[in-house]
């Protein structure tokens, strides 16, 4: 086995994994505050990428305007989803709320390619497609920049949780009733979590859109993001970074090392296998807190 090939796969896998982790950051944010898993996260990433492309293409805006425009739009889009749909589900079984997010995912996946056309759109954020050579190792530049930006965004979300409003959100995550009793507006915190989740999805959507083009397949990021969120424990942000790196490297190695032996594309099931293995051996993930149910 070639050392350089492995090193190349691992390095690219780390960056790809960090880009996946940015999608699952939103899942973790929503799970922490409201205790449900957002299955629309992949579609939100796709929506963010489509909006960025639309602002650039239909209104002729440069990329440094269209990205902030998409981020602001998606923040309010996320708040709107929470306010108009999820808040009505409070008190219903959690399964209902999950199916609602799945319904949103399906609808968005039909709406955006339907309106803007199903062909792959090119989203140029000014990263050259030429690969970068470090010695004998070849690194995909757009993936490297995407990974670094993702890491920076995830770390800044950690910093956000130490700010004043971040502490409010941590209180809501800890105990909703107790936060209510000290005057925290729980529903507002959940709405902000949805907004931030949509923003992180948009960031990931733009980075992935720049790498592989914008089309419906961006919503497939959902399954990788779920794998990362579950492996990381669903309520831990450092867990997302570590699990993202693990999933990215595992996927990259599966493509480069396992595929030639089995003559099939194993890339797509790595995330699924990780989900199942986590649930079998460590259901609450690497950093998750065990949920104790009281009768």
């Amino acid at each position: 086995m070639d050392f350089f090939l492995i090193a190349e796969l691992v390095i690219n896998g780390v960056f790809v994994g960090l880009m996946y982790a940015l999608v699952s950051l939103g899942i973790v944010l929503i799970y922490k505050t409201s205790g449900l898993v957002n299955l629309a996260q992949g579609a939100l990433a796709m929506t963010g990428a489509y909006i960025t492309w639309m602002v650039g293409n239909y209104f002729g805006m440069p990329i440094w305007i269209s990205i902030p425009a998409a981020v602001v739009f998606m923040f309010f889009g996320g708040v709107f989803i929470e306010r108009s749909a999820l808040r009505r589900m409070i008190g219903q079984p959690v399964i209902m709320a999950i199916m609602l997010t799945l319904g949103i995912e399906i609808a968005l996946r039909g709406l955006l390619p339907g309106v803007f056309g199903a062909a792959v759109k090119k989203l140029d954020i000014g990263v050259s497609p030429a690969p970068l050579f470090v010695g004998d190792i070849l690194i995909n530049q757009s993936i490297m920049i995407g990974g670094v930006v993702s890491l920076a965004l995830i770390l800044s979300s950690l910093a956000f949780f130490n700010s004043r409003y971040g502490i409010v959100m941590r209180a809501v995550a800890d105990d909703q009733t107790a936060s209510w009793s000290v005057g925290i507006r729980v529903e507002k915190a959940i709405a902000v979590a949805w907004g931030l989740a949509a923003v992180s999805a948009t960031g990931a959507g733009i980075l992935w859109g720049a790498t592989q083009g914008v089309d419906w397949s961006l919503s497939l990021l959902l399954i990788k993001a779920l794998a990362i969120a579950i492996l990381g424990g669903l309520d831990s942000i450092p867990g997302v970074i570590l699990a993202g790196v693990i999933v990215g490297v595992a996927e990259s190695l599966a493509t480069g090392v396992v595929d030639p032996f089995v003559q099939a594309s194993t890339r797509d099931i790595v995330a699924s296998v990780i989900i199942l293995a986590t649930l079998l051996f460590k259901p609450h993930g690497l950093f998750g807190h065990e949920h104790i149910e009281r009768v």
Partner: protein, 356 residues
Amino acid sequence: MFYRRAGIRHTRYEDERQLFPLTFDRVLIIAILVLLLSAPFWVERLYLVGYMVPWLIWSGAALGLNLLMGGAGQIHLGYGAVIGIGAYTSVHLVRFGVPLELAMIAGGLMSALIGSIFGAAALRVKGIYLAMATLAMQYIVDFFTQTKIISGGSLATLQVPPVSFLGISLKGDVATYYFCFGVTFLIALYMLNIRRTSFGRALAAVREKDYAAQILGVSTYRYKLLAFWVSSFIGGVVGSVLAVAYLRAISPDQFHLELSVQLLAMVIVGGLGSVLGPFLGAALILFAPIVLNNALGAAASAFGTDIPIDLRAHMPLLAYGLMIVLFLLYEPLGLAKIYDNFRKYLLVWPFRHAQK
């Protein structure tokens, strides 16, 4: 007024325990059955094969999924994969020369086995985790059905040889229709009766609060797994019916996540936990996109505007998603509940206040 409960006095326990205690309901059911049984004589062949047969098959599949989701309260996002396992198992057996009757049961058993293995893994955790475990199942099964041994590759199709059921060849449209009708009728009958058995009651207890059921002495794990087993078995049988009676040539992409999403939408739109629901849901989910598409086309030609082909192609997905969202928000128990409200209204009409 239209029909009533007053004056109907059940004097024996058996009378009260029958499936449809009200005469009107019995008459209605018999009328619908007669309509369906005589359908080949008054429905055009094209509609019989293109609309009635898929409606019956998809209703059967939705009934199976509804046992798990509405009956036991366990979410399953990979039911399309379960159907795929049944379809591929039975088609391979039929190609080997095994009679269809046995191949159907074998397909069901294979689906039940694989479905329960994933279920057993997933049932260590619940709720949201179960959703993701079944989603993972969908992708893993997809991967295996795309291998050369099972399907011949991701783009290959597998022809179903001519088959016969109980000595009747399923080549003709009418025989196929009655075959699908029979299978779905049996599944529906099973679902109607299951609620009156200890199994059905145990599932209801598990659905409402699983640890409360455990305290009452209902083995939660056992019944959840049993629900997975039964529901996957039905899925497998329906899968083989789908393959031999409707698709007649199967390829892996017919059993992808889209099928699971379609069935999920049918169950939610139709009504969780009801037997009538899947029939209504299947009709709406299967035909609404067609009707919408035709309406869009007609509107486009009437107003002289052009509707992009992409929009029309993505109309079904958009419609499924919106229907799931709107039903969950405004009528979480689906079309069956709307029918039930209407029926209750008629039961006491014109004395509305007598309802409570």
